[in-house]
Symmetry: C2
Subunit: 159 residues, 2 copies
């Protein structure tokens, strides 16, 4: 019992890394590694920049323009949502994102004629998650929502 209390974060990270959503995200991140320079890197390290702890967040200005790196992570995140939807529903879900230079915008994921996800984005320059578990949960929730929509409107999704 004492052990469990001491190392919960490690267990948490391991189960987060095992979720289908995070696996999709890792596949997409590794797919960007054209020169094999990340081959020896462990998974948590590859996702390190997706984690923005409370303290880190406090250090980021409240208003700011998103840099290309954070936009790249945002792209990968929603592409991973699309990929995980595809794995579960067997339907391609393609993302379309539009972000102003100030970090406000919208993302849509569509499958056939169905909008499976629609989300307003703001404060994109501070995009990130408190823990790996939060990352896994947030992504999985978006995938779940899309799957429900596909189940409700199967014809539009297959159109």
């Amino acid at each position: 019992m004492a052990d469990a209390a001491i190392i919960p974060a490690v267990n948490e990270d391991e189960s987060a890394l095992a979720t289908p959503f995070v696996k999709c995200l890792l596949r997409l991140v590794r797919a960007q590694d054209s020169y094999g320079s990340w081959e020896g890197k462990p998974d948590p390290e590859l996702l390190a920049d997706f984690i923005v702890t409370k303290q880190k967040r406090r250090e980021i200005p409240i208003i700011g323009d998103p840099d290309p790196d954070v936009l790249w992570r945002l792209d990968l995140y929603y592409a991973a949502v699309g990929l995980a939807i595809e794995e579960r529903a067997g339907l391609m879900a393609s993302p379309m994102m539009k972000i102003s230079h100030e970090g406000f915008g919208r993302v849509l994921l569509t499958a056939g004629r169905l909008v499976v996800l629609s989300k307003t984005l703001r404060d994109v320059h501070r995009f990130g998650f408190e823990t790996l578990r939060n990352l896994a949960e947030a992504g999985t929730k978006l995938v779940d929502g899309a799957i429900v929509a596909i189940e409700i409107y199967p014809d539009a999704a297959r159109a």
Copy 2:
């Protein structure tokens, strides 16, 4: 009969201007006239830049970056499609457009959870129509297609 042969273009323009789609487009163009400087301008003049005749088209380079004016017209054009859909179906159709700086991209119009229009865009720097009639027909065709989609998937469109 001889008269009809001489002035068909004028009649054509008049009937083009009377279509619901072109009326929507004109409303949106006039809505951008914050200082009232176009108040005295006749409708065909306001749409003049949407008309790119064969000859004008030949003068535009085949490859080119779209300028802000042509992107503005493209925005208005798809916003007018959305507005005309709204008039006919009573559902708000919101456009989302993403264009690369090279003039390639995609536009989506969604109503509720339904994608009522999805179109790949290319050669945006040469966006325009041969005649007012062509403009009216092309826009009306997009509106018609969206209305058909809404009739097929009414629940998704109202979600």
